[in-house]
């Protein structure tokens, strides 16, 4: 079963104007249900644009995006995905619990059902005692966990994440990666994850999609064969380093080509 199907999608901003940008050119990608796929590449490679096309926050110029077997627009209307951003984006004036309940309020759930789900989500992200706190009372990592709880509150089958750990320090970041994998394993959620970090992409993903800029396109897809269970030991395994090298070569090959060094033995 396919969770996300991106079919020959192109995206052009300001088409026909002097400041025209070819953000994505002929991108095709299939994400299977339960899969964790990372998009990696330098700034301007269109990875965030691609994520927003899946989320239907942007419309493709050509091509088609299918989410959960329906059009991306319908999937958005049905709240088939949850989304998390680099900023946790919690609402300062709402308690943690009320933040988690927001997508459920918009779905028209009644109060007791919302409250029960908020409790469940707080348990899931292991912050059950923080429900009545306000966002400013939480650390950056805790805020991001609440943002994930909010994204998953309606139990969507798909989670879209745009550099969610980009603003966290290295220690918190590695902890959050472990937490995310645990949460995804518990819920069976499919994830499309945008990142700048090679080790992060490799540690989290079943597949790492390497993208290149001008115009944005997919240059390489690295299969990560680290098995289902990942722990801190995973970061020391040979397969982990091999995958990192493969992704780095994908990024570097593109860089070499871009600066005109050529790379004939590729």
């Amino acid at each position: 079963m396919t969770a996300v199907s991106i079919r020959n999608v192109s995206k052009v901003f300001n088409q026909g104007k002097p400041n025209q940008v070819d953000a994505l050119s002929n991108v095709a990608l299939e994400v299977k249900q339960g899969e964790f796929v990372s998009l990696i590449g330098p700034s301007g490679c269109g990875k965030s644009t691609l994520l927003r096309l899946v989320a239907n926050l942007l419309e493709p110029t050509s091509g088609e995006v299918v989410v959960n077997g329906k059009s991306a627009a319908q999937a958005r209307l049905d709240q088939d995905y949850g989304m998390a951003f680099q900023q946790a984006g919690l609402f300062d004036w709402r308690t943690v619990r009320k933040n988690i309940e927001l997508p459920l309020e918009l779905k028209g759930w009644d109060k007791s059902k919302r409250s029960a789900r908020a409790d469940e989500m707080l348990q899931l992200v292991q912050l059950p005692e923080f429900g009545d706190h306000y966002p400013w009372q939480l650390s950056g990592g805790m805020q991001q966990r609440i943002a994930i709880a909010r994204a998953l509150a309606a139990h969507p089958p798909l989670l879209l994440m745009d550099e969610p750990f980009g603003a966290l320090d290295e220690m918190t970041r590695e902890y959050m990666q472990g937490e995310l994998l645990r949460i995804c394993a518990a819920t069976g959620t499919t994830v499309v994850f945008v990142t700048h970090s090679i080790p992060e992409a490799v540690y989290l993903s079943n597949r790492v999609v390497v993208m290149s800029p001008r115009p944005g396109r997919i240059t390489k897809v690295v299969d990560v064969s680290l098995g289902g269970e990942r722990s801190e030991d995973t970061r020391n395994r040979t397969a982990f380093f091999e995958a990192i090298t493969a992704v780095r070569e994908g990024l570097r090959g593109m860089h070499a080509a871009h600066v005109g060094l050529g790379n004939d033995d590729r």
């Binding site: 926050l57 958005r76 989304m83 900023q87 609402f91 004036w93 309020e105 918009l106 400013w136």
Partner: protein, 256 residues
């Protein structure tokens, strides 16, 4: 107990300074034998204030009512208009330069024009004047609060397929509430000042502003100062109420 001690510690320097200042003032008037028409001693101002208290209270009620009516009307109109402006961007570009232009000129002078439109004993021109001043302060701030929302919040709401009305209710309005209280903190003292100054342009001689000018005209300086004192207290009262309201709103969700 500890909190009381800290609060006293915060207030004490200001209190000591105030008392010392009044003491110096009193001493300077006595020592240099300053004539009352030049500078009046605080003790004689206080005498006038307590002696004429019922008259002063009456005048303060007139000015205070004008300020309050104008503050409420200006706030209601300002909030209503800010919703219209945030909904229709092109209006924003029409109204904002006008608001800035009107704020740049001393719009108190409009009260002279308004006085011609109503009967000589009417309080309406003064109230309209206060309304206008408050209106622009509230309009500019609340419109900013409604439009300057975090892009992440808007994207998040769109990902939930939220309607424009839902975005308004759940994001824009809560975001604008602190802006409203900031506006009120500026507008409340401005309303009182406008109410006084409006009285200088004719109409009934019943408010604090007109009492100050008539007492000065009659060389009753100590009495004039007593009305100035009342004006200060009225302004402080308005400001304090606005600050208390803001603090009640911020309770909990803002880092103190």
């Amino acid at each position: 107990m500890n909190r009381i001690t800290t609060n006293v510690g915060k207030v004490l320097p200001a209190l000591v300074f105030g008392v010392a200042f009044l003491g110096f003032w009193e001493w300077a008037v006595k020592f240099f034998e300053l004539k009352p028409y030049f500078l009046t001693a605080p003790s004689s101002i206080w005498e006038q204030f307590t002696g004429n208290f019922s008259l002063i209270r009456g005048a303060a009620t007139v000015s205070g009512t004008n300020a309050l009516v104008g503050l409420v009307a200006g706030t209601v109109l300002g909030v209503a208009m800010s919703f219209v402006l945030s909904r229709f961007g092109f209006l924003n570009q029409l109204i904002t330069p006008l608001a800035i232009a009107l704020n740049a000129i001393p719009i108190f002078v409009l009260v002279a024009v308004l006085n011609n439109m109503y009967s000589i004993t009417s309080e309406i021109p003064r109230r309209i004047m206060v309304t206008l001043v408050v209106y622009f302060i509230v309009l500019v701030n609340v419109a900013r609060g409604l439009t300057q929302v975090s892009p992440t919040h808007v994207e998040l709401m769109r990902s939930y397929a939220a309607s424009d009305v839902a975005i308004l209710r759940k994001v824009r309005i809560p975001n604008a509430v602190p802006f409203l209280f900031t506006a009120l903190k500026i507008a409340a003292p401005a309303a009182v000042i406008t109410a006084f100054v409006s009285e200088y342009f004719g109409g009934s001689q019943n408010g604090l502003g007109s009492r100050i000018s008539s007492n000065i005209a009659n060389s009753k300086n100590a009495a004039a100062w007593a009305y100035v004192l009342a004006a200060c207290l009225l302004g402080l009262l308005f400001y304090t109420v606005s600050v208390v309201m803001e603090n009640l709103n911020r309770k909990g969700w803002v880092r103190q």
